[in-house]
């Protein structure tokens, strides 16, 4: 009964979403207060329906209901409980349901916390989100119903893909989806502004915290995915420029541009039309990402069994959403206006360059990702675009961007003198280069690209310090801690996120230059040496897990005779799908990672083992964490909250909004 109930709830949710979309848009258009007033309660209703349906699917997984096709294909009676719950989003159907659930969570949050905008505006925002949700519900019900029955029931399930049986699976997809779907809020605000025809600095203040929050989740999701791939896939890479990674990276690039252009719109009332366009593009790219990943046009671990109807539906939906919003933009953008003027050299113009660079980077990724698909679809042959293309394009586009972080944060809004800024920065540049050269010499080897990357990282660090000093000086004569506490969260968040970029650049430069790897044949008591570390295989022994058998090696790592760690990499074979899986072992600290993974067994019983030395690789994810913390700090700035609380109607249960 549970699956039928869930299915029924999804149909109800579709009905509610369509009604809400129609009624609220019409109500806002005709100024019918009682129609618009439905926006909030209907959003709550949608959330309750979808969340219960999601609960039904989780229950079917937990109860081992193999009469549900989706459960039978993605679970097994030996699968541990936490992976059964995570298995809910382990396949196509369930991940769509998760998508809709996330959308409803964001809608609920907007309904709850966005109390300042006028009712017609909120009604439009929630209506647009409801319609997007309706599209996805329709997609699910027509082509990929997660509650479809399998009669007669399967005696046991086909098990969750072994690659997905990892703690990363529990968090990576929900976080990534929170980010993807979060851009629907900025999109809905942009569409509502175009429909209503009012777009000013207040609008930017409403939408900024939402956009930043979505960006934080997306950063987390991507970072987590990268860390997971590094630990789980057994190759030791952290980014492969795989089309699926690109699909999540493109909205991130445009989202980053959007955050910066929103800052200009809020502070100076400029870039209005451009900001709206970016909001539309960011969400469109999220949808495109969903299409690329879910339609099966890509060959990747994320691509599930293909059904052409699905691809066609998403493509149609994509065309409808993008086409309709661009049409609306073309008709209404002129009414929104361009906004305030600014000088040739000002923070605005530098942020404009930032936006151009990010947009160009996104365009480059889009070209590299879609061009092979186009050629293939047109029957012009198969080609692939590999990492060298992306590396070659990205470095020259990102270098000026990082350089501008330092210049932009120290340049005044509205207009500044190029000479004064250069004078202010005259010591920063040589200091950054000197620090980079010193680091390179300490690490043992000096190269152009490395020194450039390191210099940019130090440059951001130094200019952030100068900016902080300026902020403190501007806050008068109070004690240092007093002055520090008066620095706004928005500024601190920005500085922290930029430091995250510096940490990221530092990690990338170090790993790319100094990493080493070696594939060796190893049996018990064999040793190999890499970057001054000695690896000795102590023994090989079979071990068994709940739903797999494995061969485990014990490898002792020592340096100059001192034992540092014992690593236990495994080669697992999962019982149901009988596919081998590499389980790498990593010894990690902030200075370096030692990474060991097992290849295949040779005829004489020895194994091919890959050992890798990855200096400072943790800094890459540390940088992502810093960026996220910065985003969270900035989104919690007082000016968004105080406005909200002052004008909020206190909710019934007394929790301040």
């Amino acid at each position: 009964m549970i699956p039928e109930f869930g299915h029924f709830l999804l149909i109800l949710a579709l009905g509610v979403a369509l009604t809400q979309g129609g009624l609220c848009l019409l109500g806002a258009h005709r100024r019918r207060g009682e129609w618009m007033a439905l926006a909030r309660p209907m959003t709550v209703l949608r959330f309750v329906l979808t969340a219960t349906a999601f609960g039904c699917l989780v229950a079917s997984f937990v109860r081992h209901d193999f009469s549900v096709l989706y459960v039978a294909s993605n679970s097994n009676s030996a699968l541990p409980l936490h992976y059964r719950i995570a298995g809910t989003w382990g396949g196509h159907e369930g991940s769509l349901l998760l998508w809709v659930l996330m959308l409803d969570i964001w809608s609920l949050a907007v309904a709850r916390f966005s109390r300042t905008p006028p009712p017609d505006f909120i009604a439009r925002v929630l209506a647009v989100m409801a319609l997007v949700g309706a599209g996805f519900l329709l997609f699910m019900l027509l082509t990929s119903n997660p509650f479809e029955r399998l009669l007669p029931a399967a005696p046991d399930g086909r098990d969750l893909n072994p690659l997905l049986q990892d703690p990363g699976m529990v968090t990576h997809p929900p976080m990534l989806y929170m980010g993807y779907v979060g851009f629907s809020v900025a999109y809905a605000f942009a569409v509502a502004a175009l429909l209503g025809g009012n777009l000013d600095a207040t609008w930017a203040r409403w939408v900024r915290p939402w956009t930043t929050a979505a960006w934080v989740f997306l950063t987390f999701g991507i970072g987590l995915g990268s860390w997971w791939a590094y630990n789980e896939l057994g190759w030791g890479g952290w980014w492969f420029w795989d089309p699926v990674e690109n699909a999540s990276f493109m909205p991130w690039l445009v989202g980053t541009a959007l955050i910066h252009s929103l800052a200009v719109t809020e502070k100076r009332g400029a870039f209005k039309g451009w900001t709206v366009l970016l909001a539309i593009v960011a969400f469109s790219l999220s949808l495109l990402g969903t299409f690329l990943v879910r339609s099966g046009v890509l060959s990747s671990v994320h691509a599930f069994a293909t059904d052409p109807r699905r691809g066609l539906f998403i493509l149609g939906f994509l065309a409808l959403v993008i086409g309709a919003s661009l049409m609306l933009y073309a008709v209404r953008a002129a009414r929104v206006g361009l906004g305030q003027r600014f000088a040739l050299f000002s923070r605005e113009s530098l942020l404009l360059v930032n936006n151009m660079l990010l947009a160009a980077a996104c365009g480059a990724v889009l070209l590299g990702t879609l061009y092979p698909l186009f050629l293939d679809a047109l029957g012009l042959g198969k080609i692939s675009v590999g990492p060298p293309y992306f590396d070659n394009v990205f470095a020259p586009l990102m270098a000026p961007l990082l350089l501008l972080i330092g210049v932009g944060t120290l340049t005044k809004w509205k207009g500044d003198q190029l000479g004064t800024v250069i004078a202010r920065l005259r010591w920063a540049a040589p200091a950054a280069i000197a620090a980079a050269v010193a680091t390179g010499l300490a690490a043992g080897r000096l190269g152009m690209a490395t020194t450039g990357g390191l210099a940019l990282a130090y440059w951001i660090l130094i200019t952030a310090g100068m900016d902080l000093a300026g902020q403190l000086r501007a806050r008068g004569r109070a004690s240092w801690s007093e002055r520090l506490s008066r620095v706004s969260r928005a500024w601190a968040g920005m500085a922290l996120a930029h430091l995250g970029v510096a940490a990221f650049a530092f990690g990338v430069a170090m790993v790319k230059t100094y990493e080493t790897e070696r594939d060796v044949k190893m049996g018990p008591n064999d040793t190999t040496e890499i970057a001054g570390y000695e690896f000795r295989m102590l023994k090989l022994a079979p071990v068994s897990g709940p739903n797999y058998q494995a061969m485990q090696a014990e490898i002792e790592v020592s340096r100059a005779g001192r034992v540092l760690a014992t690593l236990r990499p495994e080669k697992r074979v999962y019982r149901v799908q009988t596919n081998p899986m590499t389980e790498a072992a990593v010894d990690s600290n902030p200075l370096r990672d030692l990474y060991v993974s097992m290849g295949e067994q040779l005829d004489d019983g020895a194994w091919v083992v890959r050992v890798q030395y990855k200096p400072f690789i943790v800094w890459i994810w540390g940088g992502c964490l810093l960026m996220m913390a910065g985003g969270a700090l900035a989104a919690s700035d007082r000016r968004y909250r105080s406005r909200a609380t002052r004008e909020a109607v206190v909710p019934a249960d007394g929790v301040p909004a």
Partner: protein, 154 residues
């Protein structure tokens, strides 16, 4: 500076940045495209000798031999074979009789030295390149069979 001039300058600067970025992107794009060839095309000497490209097909049954870290195997599209050598760890789902895609260079001796080997991600999935190679070989065989027949009838 008059506002109109200023706006023109900003516009010019933007056009400059965008065209620079485009030039950069297209240049990198051109030199980093990796083309795909089937074993039949390689046998017909259509593949370049100096450039990295991809081959796809099935791993021939019984063709995998190991010598320490070095692996040798044969990729076939059922019509023609290409010997491949590779140093290092193969992907988990590399199996004889299953689809495979390899990226690398073709030596003058006709042996393909792979830098990267990709295999399928789950058991129902066949890399598109591998499927394409087998499909094309089947078409060629069918055409040859037909022309032989019609030749015989005349």
């Amino acid at each position: 500076m008059r506002p109109r001039n200023r706006r023109a300058l900003i516009g010019l600067a933007l056009v400059g940045i965008v065209s620079l970025a485009t030039a950069l992107v297209l240049n990198a794009f051109n030199s980093n495209l990796v083309f795909f060839y089937t074993p039949t095309q390689i046998a017909a000497h259509e593949a370049p000798l100096e450039r990295t490209f991809r081959i796809g097909g099935m791993v021939r049954q019984g063709s995998v031999t190991r010598d320490g870290v070095r692996v040798r195997f044969v990729v076939t599209d059922t019509a023609k074979d290409v010997p491949v050598q590779y140093d290092g760890v193969l992907p988990d789902l590399f199996k004889e009789g299953k689809g495979v895609v390899a990226q690398g260079r073709l030596g003058a001796d006709g042996v393909f030295t792979a830098k990267e080997v990709l295999a399928k991600h789950d058991e129902n999935y066949m890399p598109p390149e591998a499927a394409e190679a087998v499909k094309r070989a089947d078409e060629v065989k069918a055409r040859m069979a037909k022309s032989l027949q019609s030749g015989g009838a005349r």
